[in-house]
Symmetry: C2
Subunit: 167 residues, 2 copies
C-alpha cells in the first residue's frame, strides 16, 4: 500500500531529477520518504525531528532546498497559515479542501466532491490547471460553543450591573 505510493513518488522525483540534470542524492530521497511517512500538516522542524529519529541528519539549508525542490515537483504542498508555514505530502493533481477555524486556527481537511467537481469544470482564462487548494474560513463547533457560553455570561453580567435604563 504505502510502498506503492512511496515508489510512485520516488519515481516522479527520479524523473524530475534526471530530466533537469540534478543529482540523486540520498538526502533528497530520505526527505521525500519522511515527508510521505508523516500524516497531515507538519512544520519543517517536525520534519527535521522525524528525520533525526531515523538517524538521518540534514542541515537546515538542505531541508529548505529540498522542500523547495519537492514543492516545484509538486510532491509537497506548502500552506502558510496563521500559525506559520506548514507542509503536506501531496501527489500531483491531488486537490485539497480545508476548513479553517478563524478563531482557534484548527484546520480540518474535508472531502467535498461538489467542490472538486466545480473547480475542475470551471472555465479558466488561458490557463492549464494542475491542482488546487480550497480554504473555507469560519468557525468550528467547539468555538461556537465557547462563544455562546461567553455571550450568555456577558448577558447575565449586564443584567446585574445595568439593571436600570437611562432616562
Amino acid at each position: 500500500m504505502d510502498d506503492i505510493v512511496s515508489n510512485k513518488v520516488r519515481n516522479i522525483l527520479t524523473d524530475y531529477l534526471e530530466q533537469n540534470h540534478k543529482r540523486k542524492t540520498p538526502e533528497r530521497y530520505a526527505i521525500l520518504d519522511t515527508v510521505y511517512s508523516m500524516s497531515g500538516h507538519f512544520t519543517l522542524e517536525e520534519l527535521n525531528e522525524e528525520l533525526e529519529l531515523q538517524n538521518f541528519h540534514v542541515s537546515k539549508a538542505t531541508l529548505y532546498n529540498t522542500m523547495n525542490l519537492l514543492l516545484s515537483v509538486r510532491l509537497v504542498v506548502r500552506h502558510n497559515l496563521k500559525d506559520g508555514t506548514k507542509y503536506e505530502a501531496s501527489f500531483r493533481n491531488v486537490n485539497h479542501c480545508h476548513q479553517i477555524c478563524t478563531v482557534c486556527g484548527k484546520i480540518t481537511e474535508i472531502n467535498s466532491p461538489i467542490i472538486v467537481d466545480a473547480v475542475c469544470k470551471a472555465r479558466l482564462k488561458r490557463f492549464i490547471r494542475d491542482s488546487f487548494s480550497v480554504y473555507i474560513y469560519g468557525m468550528c463547533s467547539s468555538c461556537q460553543t465557547k462563544l455562546n457560553r461567553q455571550r450568555a455570561k456577558k448577558a447575565k453580567a449586564k443584567q446585574k450591573t445595568k439593571p436600570k435604563k437611562k432616562t
Copy 2:
C-alpha cells in the same frame, strides 16, 4: 462609489472597535482607508510606502497590530504566497478565486460563479462558513508559450548532437 465602500468598511471597523472596547485611533482608520485604496495584493511594505506618500507615518508595530486587527474583523485577507506575505482588501464574506502560475508565480484573480456556488453549497462538518479562498495552480499562457519554445529548441539540439541511435 468608492466612498460608499469606504464608509461601509469604516462602519464595520467602528462597530467592532466599540463592541470590543478598543480605541478608535486615527492610525486604524488611516490604515483601513489606505488598504482599501490599494488594488490587488500588496505587501506590508507597499502599504507602508503608500501611507508615507500620504504623509501618514506609522510604526511597524502598529502596522502589524492593525493588520492583525483588520484580519480578525475580516476586512483584509492575508495570503502567504511563494514570494511572501501579501494582503488584500476584502469585505467580509467576499470569496476569492485565484489562478496561480506555478512557473512564474503570476496570480490572477478570477470570477467563477460555478466554484462560488459549489463552495457555498458544499456540506461541511459542524462548521459555520464565513468566506473562502480558492487557489488553482497550473501554468499561465505565457509560460506555456515559453515552455513550448524551449522544447522545440531542445528537440532540435538533440537531433544535431545525437543523430545516430545506439545499436
